[in-house]
Amino acid sequence: MTTSNSLVYLIALPLLGATILLLAGRRADKWGHILGTLMSGSSFAVGLYQLSQMLGRSNTARPVEQKLFEWISVGSFKVDAGLLLDQLSICFVLLITGVGTLIHIYSISYMSHDHDRRRFFAYLNLFIAAMLLLVLGNSYLNLYVGWEGVGLASYLLIGFWNQKPAYATASKKAFVMNRVGDMGLSFAIMIAFATVGTVSFAGIKEHAHHTSTAALTAMGIMLLVAATGKSAQFPLQAWLGDAMAGPTPVSALIHAATMVTAGVYLITRSNFIFDAAPTAQLLVVIVGAITLLFGALIGTAKDDIKKALAASTMSQIGYMILGAGLGPVGYAFAIMHLLTHGFFKAGMFLGAGSVMHGMNDEVNMRKYGALRKFMPITFVTFGLGYLAILGVPPFAGFYSKDMIIETAFNAGGIKGILLGSVTLLGAGITAFYMTRVMILTFTGKARWDEEAHPHESPLLMWLPMAILAIGSVSSGYLLSRGDALVNWLSPLFEHHGEHEELLAPIVVSALALGMVAIGVAIAFLKYSRQEVASVAPENVSVFTKIAREDLMQDRFNEAVFMRPGQQLTQVLVKTDEAVIDGAVRGVGKLAMGSSSLLRGVQSGFVRSYAALIFVGAALLIAAIWVVVQ
């Protein structure tokens, strides 16, 4: 396999940036943001360079490796600090560094009023580094480092304004729920080592075919658990909504474009495991299906623009997971949707940020309205993203999402029909709530608070939005032209025979567009025809209530895990004090008590002492009697 010495720079540069910014402290306040952006940008440059190199090589010779040093080596457990850049990871590298850099630029302006901006950029760089390590690691353990690294970065960024207790809690929640997922990853690694004897992708791929299905299924399920944690999939989805506590660029980069898609990466990367473990694969599909509806439903009820977008992210990733679960045919489409989604969702988040920026950080869409006149650029870029996510041809989503829907139908049999209809339904709901967002934000009449005087954002902010908008328009077409992406990735996946088509692509698209149209129509009737209250109406259907409550996810977690856990803790703390330590103290008391009891023997009367001696002697004689007899 080709080796390269320059892979490490991809990670090293942003990492260096983070370190400098953190160590330099306030001294770096003046130039910190510049440095951060440069580091991310140069990492992007390295990525482009690597891509060019890669294009220059033959299809099979494209993957590049770099072994840095021997990381852990005990007995047969050998893990190198090694990087692997192949057709899959390069997509992510470019997405991460590319979108990342844009968002750095955006943040320069967006965070300009925050006197901790330097720290913010340090975290951003840290995140970029960790995320790159995640996608570049050549073994599950290296991936694990990046995996928790991004977790840490996301924790720091969600809690960037942790002086607000709620935000601090949100960050903690995110970290802990991620850890639950991470546990799955560690299990997967342990199983891998115990059964296959290695934890490197290559090694496991090599042995996969003569490893029992049971073991692979176990690994697959554990990887899925990890994915659900990181990608906010059912049942570990609850943290994503709260994660919106972070500054909007964070939501755009981490909780829309990159980190949350790590689960999809993990599953596609582990294709050799899932291909051999149908059960696990089925579970993946189910999780994806559930989540895409789950997210979509939540999206319909949210008034907070960021939470609405977060819900939609959840649901879109559901699509990707579902796609990835559909096996070799699905992987490429999952990745494609991931990329396109990276563009339009990031774009829309930045748009949302721009809106908030103009409406002094108001997030409630019911307080928006008629903004298209005041922030036209934002409106346009957001709108393009909107069209993309709806899947209107020829925008990006049209290519990627329809592919997934189509593949879902083609999954065959009842499974196919079910999945297909779920994805279709999802598309419809998506159309509904996105339209709702559009209408509430940009059209209708203004419902602002007095002091709000909306204005278009400065260049540094709308430029990235514009670029991303271009992406959301063109990326789908570019990636799918002549199955570009599919062919690009194909060497990584083992293809078995094509599935028979249940429905022709055109039919699927038609159906999809139909659903979308319905969704849009309903939204129009509900929000454009009639007045929108600037405060959320209380007399709404129970379903809406439930949806607003994020389908009770938090209540469930609290009732099932949190409160019992807290009670258990309290009980144990008391038991430790009362029972275990009590026993110890009891021994002491016992000694003390018996002591004061025995003191009684010492009556002070000479005659009783003599009696003692007498009895003692008598006992001796008695003993002797026994001995003699």
Binding site: R599, G600, Q602, S603, G604, F605, V606, R607, A610, A611, F614, A617
Partner: protein, 99 residues
């Protein structure tokens, strides 16, 4: 007459002495009971000396008497001091030190 009887006698005397020590209150009496025990021992010695047919036992008896005499001196000295300071020879009154 069987020498064993003298042994029984000595054991009896010894026991009487020992019980006396335990039950009597007056220090002097208690002390006399101790003397009784010593003499019981003497009797045993002499008897055994008779049984074994050597003089050692009788020699011991003499030693014991001497020692007992010394004991009397010391003992009475102590008892008398106590009596003088407490105006009582009851051993039960002397129980400051306990527990």
């Amino acid at each position: 007459m069987d020498a064993a009887n003298y042994l029984y006698l000595s054991v009896l005397l010894f026991t009487i002495g020992a019980v006396g020590v335990v039950v009597r209150r007056n220090a002097i009496v208690v002390f006399m009971c101790v003397e009784l025990m010593l003499n019981a021992a003497n009797l045993a010695f002499v008897t055994f000396s008779r049984i074994n047919g050597d003089l050692n036992g009788q020699v011991v008896a003499f030693f014991t008497m001497v020692v007992a005499a010394c004991e009397v001196v010391v003992g009475l000295a102590i008892i008398v001091t106590i009596y003088r300071s407490r105006r009582s020879a009851s051993v039960d009154d002397a129980s400051l030190l306990k527990r």
